[in-house]
């Protein structure tokens, strides 16, 4: 008797009418690699063309140092062993500063967001200052930071952390409070405590938002590390100091090469976190555009 009344298996009709709110990811038609690759390649080639045009047609020989042509940037920037070594070591230094800053921002940001998610009172108390901190121009407090933490590594890390803190707090807090009321009700019905609620509902629900914040913050931490290095000239030589040096020496090719490299560092960080995001939450979230 106990097993005779089993429900029918899911009917074919039910499977056939997969609703529009939940399209299975695999079923969506994907564009070929070529269709994805060729538009940016065409635009890139066009940009290089414009670049050459400006270098050779707009600028005369005396003023060409303002925008050296691409092949010279390659030859004197990337292809020159000494310069490349200098820049990659600078990149490493800057990368490390960015990572430290991001790490501190993550620990601080998570802690703040979790505390704020547990008490509306604390959230209300902290938030205005959070916004104020974010609105403060880094340049304006540079002297103060140098005054407090010196003109070397500590100050650079401080700036990288400061600049990347805000998106982490805001996104994490938003994520933690994003779980449906029904999920909370269910835990309430079964007498779940604060920790269980945080662990089983709030934190997993927050993951997509956390990763969105991390991606933004990771990019910002690189900017912070470069700015910090640029402003505080002491300590290991990073990309910021190199940029300053090349600019002072009017070495346009090297300057451009360093700019491109810092740009690549930012892209690398962004893509890494995108990859991490797909690894962690990609299985259960609906894929969004622009990865």
């Amino acid at each position: 008797m106990t097993t005779t009344l089993r429900a029918d298996p899911v009917t074919a009709a039910e499977i056939a009418v997969l609703p529009d709110d939940a399209p299975p990811a695999q079923a969506r038609k994907r564009d070929g690699l070529f269709a994805i690759v060729y538009p940016p390649v065409v635009l890139g080639l066009f940009t290089i063309g414009v670049w050459y045009f400006i270098s050779y047609r707009v600028l005369d020989k005396k003023r060409r140092f303002l925008l050296e042509p691409p092949h010279l940037v390659w030859k004197r920037g990337f292809a020159d062993r000494e310069v490349l070594k200098e820049m990659s070591s600078g990149l490493l230094v800057t990368g490390k500063v960015a990572l430290w800053g991001l790490g501190i921002a993550i620990v601080l940001g998570f802690t703040l967001a979790i505390i704020m998610s547990q008490s509306k009172l604390i959230e209300r108390a902290v938030f205005p200052y959070q916004v104020m901190l974010q609105a403060t121009p880094i340049l304006a407090i540079t002297p103060l930071i140098g005054f407090w933490f010196g003109y070397g590594l500590n100050s650079k890390i401080f700036i990288a952390a400061l600049i990347s803190l805000f998106p982490i707090v805001v996104n994490t807090l938003f994520g933690l409070t994003s779980a449906e009321q029904g999920m909370h009700d269910m835990l309430t019905l079964h007498n779940a405590g604060r920790i269980t609620r945080l662990r089983k509902v709030m934190f997993p629900a927050a993951l997509p938002a956390i990763f969105a914040g991390l991606r933004i913050s990771a990019g910002l931490s690189v900017i912070g590390a470069i700015v910090g290095d640029f402003l505080f000239g002491q300590g290991d030589v990073g990309i910021g100091q190199l940029l300053k040096r090349y600019a002072n020496l009017l070495q346009g090719e090297k300057l451009l090469a360093a700019v491109i490299l810092s740009c690549l560092l930012g892209v690398f960080v962004f893509v890494s976190f995108g990859w991490l995001n797909n690894r962690v939450v990609g299985r259960w979230t609906t894929p969004s555009r622009g990865k």
Partner: protein, 249 residues
């Protein structure tokens, strides 16, 4: 279903509910739901039907009146499936067992039994995003059934699915009702759903909600899908409809 001499599973006695903003949601509602009963409340939207379930489960406290119910194990099927998108079907179904500290070794079997009951076998490792609306509701039902609750509250659970899927799910719900022997309290807009499922249909008035009529549904279980086309079915639905129109005015 004959009158039950033992204490009812759920008993509302003169329940009234007024929200802090002054809205009177429910006024003086009294009724019982006993083991073996499937009671459905129909009423216009916004008449406080869902509030009734929240009071029964303890999510809300009534302003006055008494609720008698054992809250240690109440099944609650929400309007939305409220599946956790980061969990597979299997892990979603295991959730309540986790919350009740069921030993890990037992969870798998208990969850699997519930998944088989609702006919979702084969979909254990799917994430909710790849399920249809009806399948999500099945998973939600399975999750509720793992704890074998003696009382199941349904808050318009099939309102968001299409008509055919709704009829399927109604038939499944009846099978589960007969097999699991829970007492059911079901909220819906749909009169035919109410008649098809229930032993008794209560009609609630517009806000503030009161019970204005009660209809016993005489059809025996198991009920076949064809019951919906029975003249007696249509007649009863007609009566309820009339009463509901009165309640609306």
């Amino acid at each position: 279903m004959a009158a039950n001499t033992t204490a009812p599973t759920l008993s509302f006695q003169n329940i009234s509910m007024q929200f802090p903003d002054g809205t009177q949601a429910i006024a003086d509602v009294s009724f019982d739901v006993a083991k073996g009963e499937f009671v459905t409340v129909v009423g216009p939207s916004g008449c406080g039907k869902s509030t009734l379930l929240k009071i029964a489960s303890g999510l809300l406290n009534q302003t006055s009146g008494q609720v008698e119910v054992d809250r240690s194990n109440i099944g609650y099927v929400f309007q939305d499936a409220t599946l956790f998108p980061w969990r597979t079907v299997k892990r979603n179904v295991e959730l309540l067992l986790e919350l009740h500290n069921t030993p890990k070794a037992d969870r798998g079997n208990m969850a699997q039994r519930a998944i088989d009951l609702v006919g979702l076998n084969g979909f254990e490792n799917h994430y909710p995003k790849s399920l249809s609306g009806g399948m999500k509701m099945r998973a939600s039902l399975a999750r509720t059934l793992t704890l074998k609750p003696p009382l199941l509250l349904f808050d318009e659970p099939f309102g968001a699915v299409d008509e055919i899927t709704r009829e399927h799910l109604n038939e499944e719900t009846l099978k589960l009702f007969q097999q699991e022997r829970f007492a059911g309290l079901f909220i819906t807009h749909s009169i035919s759903e109410a008649v098809f499922l229930s032993t008794r249909v209560l009609v609630m008035s517009a806000r503030p909600g009161r019970i204005v009529a009660s209809f016993d549904v005489p059809f025996d279980y198991p009920r076949s899908p064809e019951l919906r086309f029975d003249p007696a079915f249509a007649e009863l639905a007609g009566h309820i409809n009339q009463s509901l129109r009165g309640a609306h005015a």
